[in-house]
């Protein structure tokens, strides 16, 4: 190596001679590039606007239509004793308290099933499996699982309960099982991503202190990834809280309040919305007073849809707050 300088040889000996003026950018080519840059900026801005239109429309429609019937009465009564378009003795037109309870319990049940399993599966994939064959298979199948149509998940849960608990079994928990099937892949995926971005530094730091792997994972890795895991789980919940089709066959539909997740049918908000939409119009007999509102089912549907969006919003906010509280500063 020391001799390299002695027999010094130009790099460019033998290199073709290049006329760089040929490649010099012309005014027009520069302008064309600039125009393209502006054009793409415009296009990207436009994409944004285009996407906003329907999304704003969805929100706007739901809010405007939903606010009409969204009041305390609507939130504190269920649908028992509601007949046609007639008002109930309490002065309202029925409400969604049973559906809110159903939504929360069934989704809660799905959470209890899928979040621990999902997190542990992600832990397995990231901390133990190190990209082995089994891990590859599992993560492929997790992707496949995220493509299971919700209705198939419903059919599956329904049949499973039929086999285990006898024919025709319908209860809230069955709905939870169906939903957890849909939720699991999202939980696994997002937790996997979150665990992956925990710096390896921290694992090594902990292990170097003579801490066992299990404690390193639970107390350092999971703790550090917590905010991300929480928002991943919230996203997963949001994914299933609006499911209708699988719940129609697993959790059923009832107009009274049922707080027992494990027995009896339960209504959730999306199912409620769908059923009210299916009713479309209520009948008002010829002799009915003006208090009878024929369009009440659709109004209830929109109001319930709005309640559902608000619940999702609140969940999102909780997720944000939790993420903030447990936030981890990674960089100085």
């Amino acid at each position: 190596m020391a001799e390299a300088t002695a027999t010094k040889k130009k790099n460019l000996d033998g290199a073709p001679v290049i006329d760089f003026d040929k490649f010099r950018p012309t005014r027009s080519s520069e302008n064309a590039r600039k125009r393209k840059d502006y054009f793409m900026t415009g296009l990207i801005g436009l994409a944004f606007v285009i996407a906003c239109l329907p999304l704003i429309s969805v929100l706007w429609t739901t809010i405007v239509n939903g606010l009409k019937r969204l009041n305390l009465n609507f939130l504190s009564y269920n649908m028992t004793g509601v007949v046609g378009g007639n008002p109930t003795p309490s002065g309202g037109y029925g409400g969604v308290v049973h559906a809110i309870i159903g939504t929360l319990e069934i989704t809660g049940g799905a959470m209890v099933i899928s979040i621990p399993i999902g997190i542990m599966c992600a832990v397995y994939l990231v901390e133990y499996a190190h990209g082995g064959k089994l891990a590859m298979t599992i993560s492929l199948l997790v992707d496949v699982m995220s493509g299971i149509p919700s209705i198939v998940a419903g059919l599956f849960a329904f049949s499973m309960f039929t086999i285990v608990f006898g024919p025709g079994t319908i209860n809230g928990f069955e709905g939870s099982v169906a939903l957890s099937l849909l939720m699991l892949p999202t939980v696994v995926k997002s937790c996997e991503e979150m665990l992956k971005i925990v710096p390896n530094d921290l694992r090594e730091a902990s292990l170097a202190l003579g801490v066992t792997k299990q404690r390193t994972i639970t107390k350092i890795v999971l703790r550090t990834a917590l905010p991300g895991i929480v928002s991943g789980c919230i996203l997963a919940i949001a994914r299933v809280i609006g499911e209708t089709a699988p719940l129609l066959m697993t959790a059923g539909y009832i107009s009274s309040t049922n707080v027992n997740l494990f027995s009896g049918q339960m209504t959730t908000l999306p199912v409620f919305v769908y059923q009210e939409y299916s009713k479309l119009n209520a009948n008002c007999p010829v002799h009915a007073t003006s208090a009878c509102v024929p369009t009440i089912p659709m109004e209830r549907a929109w109001a319930a849809a709005l309640v559902l969006i608000i619940i999702v919003l609140v969940l999102n906010l909780i997720g944000r707050v939790v993420a903030k509280v447990f936030a981890v500063k990674t960089e100085r």
Binding site: V83, G84, G168, T257, S278
Partner: protein, 352 residues
């Protein structure tokens, strides 16, 4: 329970004929979505007399309702179709003794609704006979000013708007009842097998009665069929019966049932199955109706269920019950010609 609206007691308990103890407990039914509005009213009315009875009805569809009933998970099923022989046989495994039977509980006229500028929004009806309606729904007549339509509606100015047929996209008893009218009343213009699925690909399909109604509302020139109670502001077709065009109404629907026979081919005890006389010429009758049944066992493994089934059917077929359904769902009352037979069948339910 929490959030319950105190049951509306519009039907004073005194007028009820029930002398027995009030029913209490949890009871489930499932089935036809067409009955939903009526069942809601019935539940409210029934609970007026039996405040401790908790009743749930899942409008999961006739087929699913019957399947669930046949597993023994529900006390009764609602169905737009009478039981098949097979189903009757299967029910023997579920009922404590005997086989399940069906009785009509809900009769609702099916309206042929349309949306046509200058006609329906002016509150006018259109007169059509069975063959014309069949041709429209088979895509043979495609504009509103087709001579076949115009001839029957001399006093209307019909535009040349294209006809958009709107039918159910899901399996439906409404569809089956509707097309069975064509099969009987215009057999030459309707060559499809009887089925709960819409048979041709004319026009547009929509999910559920609500889908049909909202689709019809959304465009000019549409025509569809739907339960009478859902008609709203849409125009309806007056159907030719005999020599006159009869408009739809609950009473008119009732009349065709009055003029109908029982289906004697239905095998099994206590069954009351109506064979709708679509070719009726009864005065003021409206021939396109849906008859929906309640399906129960003559005896239940759990006597309580039997007690409930008996009380429940008695109530919903009583004039009080029928009145409640009429108010809540716009249905047609059961004609007196049927009530006796129904009552007799109900009496057969064992409560011990």
């Amino acid at each position: 329970a929490c959030g319950d609206n105190t049951a509306s007691t519009s039907n004073g308990g005194s007028s009820s004929t029930t002398k027995s103890e009030p029913i209490s407990g949890d009871f489930q039914g499932a089935g036809a979505s067409s009955q939903q509005a009526a069942v809601e009213a019935w539940i409210a009315g029934f609970q007026g007399n039996n405040p401790d009875a908790k009743i749930a009805y899942n409008p999961s569809g006739s087929g699913a309702g019957v399947s669930t009933f046949l597993t023994g998970a529900t006390a009764w099923a609602g169905s737009d179709k009478a039981l098949s022989d097979d189903e009757v046989k299967q029910s023997e495994a579920v009922c404590a003794s005997g086989a399940a039977f069906d009785v009509p509980v809900y009769i609702s006229p099916i309206a042929v609704v349309f949306n046509l500028k200058g006609v329906s929004d002016a509150g006018k009806h259109i007169n059509l006979d069975a063959s014309t309606i069949a041709k429209i729904f088979d895509g043979k007549i495609t504009t509103w000013n087709d001579p076949a339509i115009a001839d029957q509606n001399k006093d209307l100015k019909l535009p040349d708007t294209a006809i958009t047929v709107v039918h159910r996209s899901d399996k439906s008893g409404t569809t089956q009842n509707f097309v069975s009218y064509f099969k009987d009343a215009a057999p030459n213009d309707w060559n499809y097998d009887l089925s709960e699925n819409w048979p041709n690909s004319v026009g547009q399909g929509a999910k559920g009665t609500s889908g049909v109604i909202s689709t019809v509302q959304q465009a000019d020139g549409t025509i569809g069929y739907a339960d009478f109670s859902q008609v709203g502001k849409l125009g309806t077709v007056a159907v030719k019966v005999g020599d006159s065009y009869n408009e739809i109404s609950a009473e008119a629907g009732s009349k065709v049932i009055e003029d109908s026979q029982l289906d004697e081919t239905a095998k099994g005890d206590n069954r009351v199955v109506v064979k709708i006389n679509h070719e009726t010429t009864a005065k003021g009758a409206y021939p396109i109706v849906l008859v929906s049944y309640a399906i129960v066992c003559p005896a239940y493994k759990d006597a309580k269920q039997g007690e409930f089934a008996k009380a429940w059917l008695s109530y919903i077929t009583s004039s009080d019950g029928q009145k409640a359904a009429q108010d809540a769902a716009g249905s047609a009352p059961l004609p007196s010609s049927l009530t006796d037979k129904i009552t007799k069948s109900i009496e057969a339910i064992k409560t011990k």
